[in-house]
Symmetry: C2
Subunit: 144 residues, 2 copies
């Protein structure tokens, strides 16, 4: 278990094997040494590093941001402040995205509520629902 091949590494880190090869290709993981038959062999460090990468990705850091973070790990000097700054910037982006999503959620709730009020109880003269988005739809006959 101390020298996993790509499949086990994938399983232990929640990654797919092609994704691991992709990370190697773009230089996020070192090129793994190969055993006799050309298959990649990994070590404990690779498990840690890939776990780190995956967690960053779950945190929605972009690959380039992860590259920076991994660089901080590799190059151990004044890492924390740099990492803090990156995280703070990223936090702002996440919050902006959340504000967007909240607005979106409100709109959708309104959309569904309008549907229930206008249409589910019986079609009105013309439907407001799709009209919210574009012009008008025909959930009942359009009576001008």
């Amino acid at each position: 278990m101390s020298h996993p091949r790509i499949g086990e590494l994938a399983e232990r880190t929640g990654t797919s094997a092609p994704a691991i090869r992709y990370y190697e290709e773009i230089g996020l993981l070192r090129a793994a040494p190969r055993q006799a038959g050309n298959q990649r062999v990994y070590g404990r460090d690779d498990v840690d590093r890939l776990t780190f990468i995956r967690r960053c990705r779950e945190f929605d850091f972009s690959i380039e941001q992860v590259r920076t973070l991994v660089g901080l790990l590799d190059n151990r000097s004044s890492s924390c402040l740099d990492a803090r700054e990156l995280a703070a910037t990223h936090l702002e982006a996440v919050r902006a995205k959340m504000r967007e999503l909240r607005a979106l959620e409100r709109s959708l709730v309104g959309f569904v509520a309008d549907c229930d009020a206008q249409c589910a109880g019986g079609p009105g003269p013309d439907c407001v629902i799709l009209g919210d988005l574009g012009k008008r739809c025909g959930c009942g006959p359009v009576v001008p």
Copy 2:
């Protein structure tokens, strides 16, 4: 103004001209008629339809979902209930995404707070920050 070309249509709907051509190519917009010199000419209906499409996209509906919604517009029968169902499903997806982002936000806040506590005030023996994500980083010398 009643027969805009692609640039004006783009401006009036908040779309880019290449995006409009792309929508035409994938069949979300009809192939626009051309004027003498082969340039696309649009009408009032196109403005409405594209506005609808853009609004759906702002609501984070995928192109395929928009295709369905546009289909409901085109085919006016029992539209509302179908649209409601699609919106409700989409709302669930949006809420799931928000839950993810909230968790992410909490983690990042913790990350930044740890940075401030552990590192900004002076490096501790070793840093917890990147350790939260992977193993440990070296914002100070690692003393085993």
